[in-house]
């Protein structure tokens, strides 16, 4: 046998080996279709547990489009690679998951593969859901399979080559999907571990609060140091938190449970839907999430505490009211904002003192601009925060002036740049957001009904 033939043989073997390896990475078998199970075949207690878990997982947020039927999908999710539409997860046999067995559902949660064996895009955050336990997957499956079936085909994704090839996702998973159950930390208590399991898994907090790399994966080295969600900024929820007063477990619990905290303000934008869901799940789960998240924030440093004390002192001394008359930010603030934000009326109906607002200590004015434009709509039947919208009564220049004034007021922050451009973008984005997202009002209006299935 000549040397050339040996090399040739090795080369062929290598190519075949590589092909087999690629096939093993990419190919996933279909799981046999089933007859859709009847709703009666699921235990009511299991369905109720699934409802709570689905609320913790915020499933309705992506899988329901504004004005659409619950869980019927179709929400366009903009990504740097193109637009991906959320799928229909109602038990409709043709357009939903009606023909999915529990095994198929669990495989999708664990490894992002649909019943037919296609790789799912990681906009479905299976990099988090992979740690969900068998029992919790079973409950989620029971909940979804007992929802009203809705016939709603999922619109085709609008992705450029090569991202429109689903096998590409298999490579992404090799790099960024780390399957495995949650490993409890024995040094911590049961509540902390429960919180960690939920935050890192089903609640997928990092999907928004952790920045992403060029391939759209969370940068694990920068966990919870803040990210972008459509036209909102998801703040850092670790030691880099820009909040004027440090967060602790009690404040987080109040905020996550009731949607606002007197020391920090109101949950808005995509977070409004999260807290709306968390208002309707068992208290101890929200407690666990708060306990774990407070440890992600970490104990405040001495410098942080010093600045917090300064802020508290500033709250006690009344702010100088500008004389007014000119069209400056200070005058507009005094006329349009201060009547609520300095009224002394307690939240949620009185505005939070803006010295406490993270939106003004954040690195850019996006969130503050969004809130001034759109206001805060009340939730039907709830004691929820309110604020009128100013999109139709303030010009971009006026909003920019107010933002620039408020930013400068604390004296602790560098000025924002391009404020007016941010306001213009926010105005455009707000219009798009209102057309495609659900109104953040999904908690049962009657709070006495919250513990029932």
């Amino acid at each position: 046998m000549s040397k050339g033939r040996i090399i040739g043989g090795i080369a062929i073997a290598a190519v075949i080996g590589a092909a087999i390896a690629a096939f093993a990475v990419i190919w996933r078998p279909a799981i046999a279709a089933i007859e859709p199970p009847t709703a009666q075949s699921f235990e009511p207690a299991l369905v109720k547990r699934g409802r709570d878990l689905a609320a913790i997982g915020n499933c309705n947020d992506c899988h329901t489009v504004r004005g659409g039927k619950a869980y019927a999908g179709g929400l366009p999710v903009p990504t740097p690679f193109g637009t991906i539409y959320s799928s229909n997860i109602t038990p409709d046999p043709d357009t939903g998951i009606g023909r999915w067995s529990e095994a198929a559902f669990q495989r999708a949660m664990r490894s992002g593969v649909d019943r037919g064996g296609h790789h799912l895009y990681p906009t479905f955050p299976y990099d988090h859901f992979t740690n969900v336990t068998d029992d919790d997957d079973r409950a989620l499956y029971a909940f979804l399979m007992t929802r009203p079936a809705v016939h709603a085909p999922t619109p085709a994704n609008n992705l450029a080559f090569p991202f429109n090839q689903r096998f590409v996702v298999a490579g992404w998973k090799l790099l960024f999907l780390h399957p495995g159950a949650y490993q409890a930390d024995p040094a911590k208590g049961a509540e902390w571990n429960r919180g960690a399991y939920l935050v890192e898994g089903l609640a997928h907090c990092g999907a928004c609060h952790t920045p992403r790399n060029a391939l759209g994966a969370e940068r694990s080295a920068a966990s919870f140091s803040g990210g972008d969600v459509e036209n909102w900024q998801a703040y850092a929820i670790n030691a880099n938190s820009p909040a004027p007063l440090p967060w602790d477990a009690e404040a987080l619990y109040r905020y996550l449970r009731q949607g606002f905290d007197p020391d920090h303000g109101v949950a808005r934008g995509p977070m409004a839907e999260v807290v709306s869901n968390l208002s309707a799940v068992p208290e101890n789960d929200v407690h666990a999430i708060a306990v774990y998240t407070s440890s992600v924030f970490g104990a405040p440093t001495a410098e942080r505490l010093r600045r917090a004390n300064e802020t508290r002192a500033q709250l006690k001394s009344p702010l100088a009211r500008p004389a007014g008359g000119d069209n400056s930010g200070a005058s507009i603030y005094a006329a349009a904002c201060a009547p609520c934000h300095e009224s002394g009326r307690p939240p949620p109906y009185g505005g939070v003192n803006l010295a406490l607002s993270t939106s003004l200590s954040a690195s850019d004015p996006r969130n503050a601009a969004n809130i001034i434009l759109a206001g805060i709509r009340p939730v039907a039947g709830e004691r929820s925060p309110i604020m009128p919208p100013f999109a139709d009564s303030m010009t971009d220049a006026q909003i920019s002036a107010v933002l620039t004034y408020l930013r400068s007021r604390s004296g602790n922050h560098t000025a924002w740049s391009n404020v007016e451009q941010t306001v213009r973008d926010a105005r455009r984005g707000e219009a798009a957001f209102l057309q495609t997202s659900r109104a953040p009002a999904n908690a049962p209006a009657d709070s006495t009904q919250r513990d029932k299935p």
Binding site: G324, I332, A336, I386, D392, S393
Partner: protein, 164 residues
Amino acid sequence: MKLKVNGHDHQIDADPDTPLLYVLREDLKLNAAKFGCGLGQCGACTVIVDGRAVLSCVTPLILLEGKQVTTLEGLGTLDAPAPIQRAFMEEQAAQCGYCIAGMMMRAQALLQKNPKPTDEQIRSELQPNLCRCGTHMRILRAVHRAARLMDSAELLPSDQGSVQ
């Protein structure tokens, strides 16, 4: 400061943080816009500023420099009601009537930018305006009727020979 309301210039002697609603009702005696909640949450105070529906109870004068304010009085009169007013009367959309001026103003602003709104669009546009009496279905019909009135030749007021 100068304030332009229903096409007329007014010289207003008030602080720049005075809500527009107070000026309309107390200084100009234009009482169509109502004080409801004072927090911009009920819509009873809605007027039109430069073509957009605005909550006058939370809009201070300082924001109105150089802008045009339109109140319900500026749309039509008892003798010559505007299409939106005629439509609300013909559908008997008012019960207690407290919210109706605000409803008409927001509906008017909607029809000015979208002359043929769908049911869904009207519902979503009027969402900020509350009605306690429950005449929502009549209000909805009235907005559709106003759209037809504005679209057809029936722009004449009702006492000048159109259908009644």
